[in-house]
Amino acid sequence: MRILRWLPGRLFSAVIVLLGASLLIFAAGRSLPGDYANTVLGPLSSEEARVELRESFGFDRSLPEQYVLWLRNALEGDFGLSLASQRPVREEIASRLPITALLAAMGMVLTIAIGVPLGVYAGCHVADGRRSAATRIVSTIGISLPEFVVGSVVVFLFSHFDFGLTVGTFVSPAEDFGAGIVSLLLPALVMAIPCIAATARATRNAVIDVLVEPHIAAAIARGETPGFIIRHHVLRNALIPVLTLTAIIMAYLLGGAIIVERVFNVPGLGSYLVLALGRRDYPVIQAVVLLTTAIFVLMSLLVDILTGIIDPRVAVTKAGPGA
């Protein structure tokens, strides 16, 4: 198992990345102008009242002291109390993460279900200039359109016309799973659009690359049907770059739902982070950004592992010459 040779090193570097990220996240949060006391007490409050509030949350301590304390508690799974709600951040995240995770999973399903067939179709019809151009244009538009634009248009159209889906109500999947899935359908689609486009493009390119390889010509010479060739020869070999992209997309969907969640009023991690930033709710900002970073790091690690399993040559390269 060559993978076991390089995996500990990758895990160690992941931990170093997370530690560095935690320091950056802490420093970035505290360097924002204004603080929590400003927001919660409002402009009409006295400086005395603000000082008192800062002291009550321990913000009067030195920044290194605060960082060490926070990191120590975070390692034990304690991210402190949300300044805004006075509830443990861990509990707040636990209630919001499943919503974001479900939204991301739905986005992922849509991405794979639409993006991969679209890419295969485009790759197999690359000789057809009009179809090839059309798929390129569509995927470019899909990647280029900002989520807030697509989201706003969707919210407007679905609220103005009766298409059978409402955008003004979020139903918690924990209360009604079916209705929850339906209420997340449009936000998931909006999130998935750039991912579908990127996946379609990556799949198309991978398919084109595989189609010119000799074993495809051999398969055709053997008289295998086009469907069989695509399923058994093209897709399998085109999978590696798509798999890499898919993992990155999953991390993006989990951590990047900020705009979509706000536009569709989905109470997930993204909208939670926006609220926390606007209030300088430091424990929440630090915990959510650290969690998002951890997701990216873990996804990256997962891709490395999967790629190493699928194509051992990659593992050899990662382990270094002679490994």
Binding site: G34, T39, L41, P43, L44, S159, V167, R279
Partner: protein, 539 residues
């Protein structure tokens, strides 16, 4: 027959445009449903049902659910469902009975309140005179900014089984106005002092509703308070409140019927809902007003010179600001909110009478030609940034170049408030709640009382004295005269210059709810007449 793609696209586009854009865009109904009201509930409709309300932001829980420290209009609205005050304001800003069934002003320094005998807290305990006395005293002891508005209360005495007497150390005409807002709510003092109720976490008031569920920044559920003496007359059983920060989402919720009643800061909501046949949109004029900070504390800034500040003040065309940034809904105002009785006439302010030549001369005399000023505003609402851009163009005519910086709320507060170090920015845009008495908001121009202005406002003993005098004069012509003098002094000093009122927009579904909405509001309470609301679909 094959339809070509461009043709099909044109047909679809034409269909969408014809359905989305109304032929003529109607403004909110200019006519009131009744004097002082934009809408009046149909009381013939049966009571019951659940009302769905969409608001833009929640209370901030770390400040607690304690009404004494509530500083935002949404907190006042939400807490106002569960708490009541001694007096209330009516649609004409007159004071009407609340928990006090009547009151007598014995002298300018003595107010006697006779309390309702049937008021009961939501835990079932009847309200007593001790609760009233204790609530006012606890507010005075708190660090709440509303304690300042309460005025010079010397004592609160129980003078009868259901009677409380408030004595002042000096006359204070705005006392009733201060007692009418949620921070002065009557609390279950006995339980609060015994520690059996934590006011920061639990709302136990005498109001018509009890909060039965709350998820911070997401939602509230209020149910009818069965102990309320008027429970049988309350029109809606349950209120589900969704906190929806995104304005477009609230618009969508009104369009598709998810929301029955929603609030909007953006005046464009009037137009954006114009094509929705079931939605009725009304403007609610507030006593709140936008103002401009002209920082006089920075000795290196041109605004250190009063002549430059007056020139900037005079160069701003408020009507144009209102037309372009607020769809014409904002009303030019002086420091006394123009919608309140006794308010001064903004057209007669010193800055309003200066010609362009006089403005240029003021700048020239101060040596302030071709100057650059920084303007900082915040991004929570769309209007301030738009106002900033229009002011930038208006001042350009007089050789004043404005550099605009838009920041978020905490950064804005850090820039202008809370410390005695001079702010670095020259100009700021913000807004004040105007409350229910013409003299209340003017306290924020008294540098001895409003210490939070220390970063940008120098003030003067004369101005401070005028603010105090305005709060002491009894209602009448002499008070109106003092208020006029106060407006002129604020305008001339030009350190915080009032611009125009900050109206709100309320939309509701006519097929879902029949609400009562007052035309003018002083405390941002969007649900002031909630007990009158009726659901149109209730059988």
């Amino acid at each position: 027959m094959r339809i070509q793609l461009p043709t099909a696209g044109a047909v679809v586009l034409a269909f969408l445009l014809s359905n989305i854009v109304p032929a003529t865009i109607p403004r909110a109904a200019a006519e009131e449903a009744a004097p002082g009201f934009q809408a009046v509930a149909d009381m013939n409709l049966p009571a019951g049902g659940t009302l769905r309300v969409y608001l833009d932001y929640d209370t901030v829980a770390a400040a607690g659910l304690d009404p004494r420290v509530a500083t935002t209009a949404r907190s006042w609205t939400l807490m106002g469902l569960s708490y009541e005050t001694l007096v209330k304001v009516d649609e004409k800003f007159g004071f009407v009975p609340g928990l006090a069934k009547s009151w007598k002003i014995v002298s300018p320094t003595e107010y006697v309140f006779d309390l309702r005998e049937d008021a009961v807290f939501s835990n079932g305990r009847p309200m007593t005179a001790e609760d009233v006395k204790g609530s006012i005293e606890m507010l005075q002891e708190s660090k709440s900014s509303w304690a300042l508005q309460l005025g010079p209360i010397a004592s609160v005495d129980i003078t009868g089984p259901h009677q409380v007497t408030i004595r002042l150390s000096a006359p204070y005409t705005a006392l009733l106005g201060a007692l009418a807002n949620t921070p002065a709510a009557i609390l279950p003092v006995k339980e609060a002092r015994a520690g059996t109720i934590d006011l920061s976490k639990q709302m136990v008031g005498t109001g018509p509703y009890v909060a039965t569920a709350h998820v911070q920044d997401e939602s509230w559920t209020f149910t009818k308070n069965p102990h309320h003496p008027d429970a049988a007359k309350i029109g809606v059983d349950t209120i589900d409140i969704e906190i929806v920060a995104d304005e477009a989402n609230r618009l969508a919720a009104i369009r598709d019927g998810s929301a029955h009643y929603a609030f909007f800061n953006n005046a464009d909501a009037l137009d954006l809902l114009a094509g929705s046949p079931q939605a009725r949109v009304v403007k609610q004029q507030n006593t709140d007003f936008y103002y401009l900070i002209l920082n006089s504390k920075n000795p290196t800034s041109p605004l250190h010179d009063e002549r430059v500040r007056l020139a900037v003040n005079a160069a701003i065309d408020r009507a144009q600001l209102s037309d372009l940034a607020l769809a014409g809904l904002g009303l030019t105002t002086g420091v006394t909110p123009v919608t309140l009785p006794g308010a001064c006439d903004p057209a007669k302010l010193p800055s309003a009478t200066l010609s362009d030549a006089e403005i240029s001369k003021l700048l020239a005399d101060a040596g302030a030609t071709n100057i650059k000023l920084s303007l900082t505003t915040w991004n929570e609402e769309s209007a301030p940034a738009q106002i900033a851009q229009i002011i930038q163009q208006q001042l350009q005519r007089f050789g004043i170049t404005i550099e605009i910086k838009v920041v978020d709320d905490p950064a804005y507060v850090a820039e202008f408030y809370g410390s005695d170090q001079p702010a670095t920015a020259d100009i700021g845009i913000s807004w004040y709640a105007g409350y229910g008495d013409a003299a209340m908001v003017s306290r924020w121009w008294n540098t001895e009382q409003a210490t939070f202005t220390a970063r940008y406002m120098t003030g003067s003993p004369e101005l401070n004295a005028l603010v105090v005098k305005a709060s002491q004069e009894p209602q009448g012509a002499s008070r109106d005269q003092v208020l006029t003098e106060l407006c002129a002094a604020v305008d001339k000093g030009a350190e915080q210059i009032p611009l125009m009122t900050r109206p709100g927009v309320i939309a509701y579904r006519t097929d879902k709810v029949s609400p009562t909405i007052n035309t003018n509001e002083g405390y941002g309470n969007l649900l002031r007449y909630i007990t009158d609301f009726r659901l149109t679909g209730t059988k």
